[in-house]
Symmetry: C2
Subunit: 235 residues, 2 copies
């Protein structure tokens, strides 16, 4: 018997907006839903929260189970709780957004559902309110990455500045000056230059860098105006 006899219980789920970057486009990872209602429709990665875990642990578990990845960038977005959002039972979902290196993602053998990357601007119809979740996640990504150096989470451990610049250009749909961009990023003192160049994309080659994760963690809340007028992107 409940100790709160007058109150109703709800189902609690998490959904993850998983971002990836293929070098040209910003992508999201979608799956085909494995249970009714709407079985087979495209959906965000999600799942119910277990009795012994909090929502963040649930999101990390779902992500790990379905992508094989752990220690990914994961941030709570917001709660979606419209009474009718799930047509068959009242289910409240806490949405998280995740940033992963698209190359590290390997489809799990044990998966009994499809997962696929889609261009964020051109994805199939999604179940429930997942379209809203994606829109909100995109807005948050733009807002946050205008101030905080989080986008490198979408790149491999070693990456070049031109790669990072392309990523910013894709996220904000702008063109940036490569010369000023390099200086601005390097002036944050978070990157370490490696003794290796990427020669695939240019003749001269671009130096590889890696994030100094100690400094990154220490300065995680550092605010830098990487993008001018960030507000105009937060629609």
């Amino acid at each position: 018997m409940s100790r709160y006899p007058d109150q109703a219980r709800v189902f609690l789920a998490v959904d993850c907006i998983v971002f990836g970057f293929d070098g040209k486009q910003l992508k999201i990872l979608l799956v085909q839903r494995a249970l009714e209602p709407e079985m087979g429709s495209w959906s965000l990665m999600g799942g119910f929260v277990f009795a012994n875990e909090n929502v963040e642990q649930a999101a990390a578990r779902v992500l790990h189970t379905r992508t094989g990845l752990s220690n990914v960038y994961l941030e709570e977005l917001s709660t979606f709780s419209e009474p009718g959002r799930d047509p068959v039972e009242r289910t409240v979902s806490v949405a998280f957004f995740a940033l992963i290196d698209i190359n590290k993602y390997k489809k799990q053998i044990t998966d009994d559902f499809h997962a696929e990357w889609f261009d964020i601007n051109k994805h199939p119809k999604l179940i429930f309110d997942h379209k809203q979740m994606v829109a909100k996640a995109k807005a948050r990504l733009r807002y946050k990455s205008a101030f905080h150096p989080i986008l490198f989470e979408l790149l491999p451990a070693k990456f070049t500045l031109p790669q990072l610049k392309s990523l910013y250009e894709e996220v904000y749909n702008i063109e940036m000056d490569n010369r000023n961009f390099s200086r601005k990023i390097l002036s944050m003192n978070l990157l370490e230059k490696l003794n290796e160049k990427d020669k695939e994309n240019s003749k001269r080659g671009a130096w590889y860098y890696k994030m100094n994760s100690k400094k990154y963690k220490a300065n995680f809340h550092a605010v830098a105006t990487i993008i001018p007028n960030p507000d105009i992107y937060y629609s």
Copy 2:
């Protein structure tokens, strides 16, 4: 019978961190809990989410019921979902923070519990994880108001720039230059000067201003660095 037979349901609640400003100190509004467990202990304003409302509506309702206020600034903070946070039943709470004009608050006659303002840095022991909620709300308030002109929500409809400056000084525990502060705030073009001065706090008197709510809404996402180095306050 549930359509998700293998899943457990949880209780869903909201809790509100209600900020106020008395001219000198930043305050939060606490109540004495009206139900078991921990009946009588100090707590944030909260309540269960009804079947016909989403969490934001629930937070607004709780606030309205217990303070008489509507149309207050209300923003989702995050979800608190540790399995054992409520010792008797699994209850997940979505925390919201609210900014209100402390003068508008009137204790409701119908209240069967105490509500009281406390200095944010010196409040009684709180139930469950409410202390964490308060800490997180304070951090978010600092972070957000460093970029967005939201703090005026804590002041009366007409206010002076010295009042607003005191508020910023209290929130960030810094001293600001009144001359530069005025210019910075006014350069956002969100305030309208009234034909009236506050003569209570100085001989010369300070002009009253009011927020132009049309411009405020239109520019809500405008980012201005009201506070230098905002990151150092986001602990």
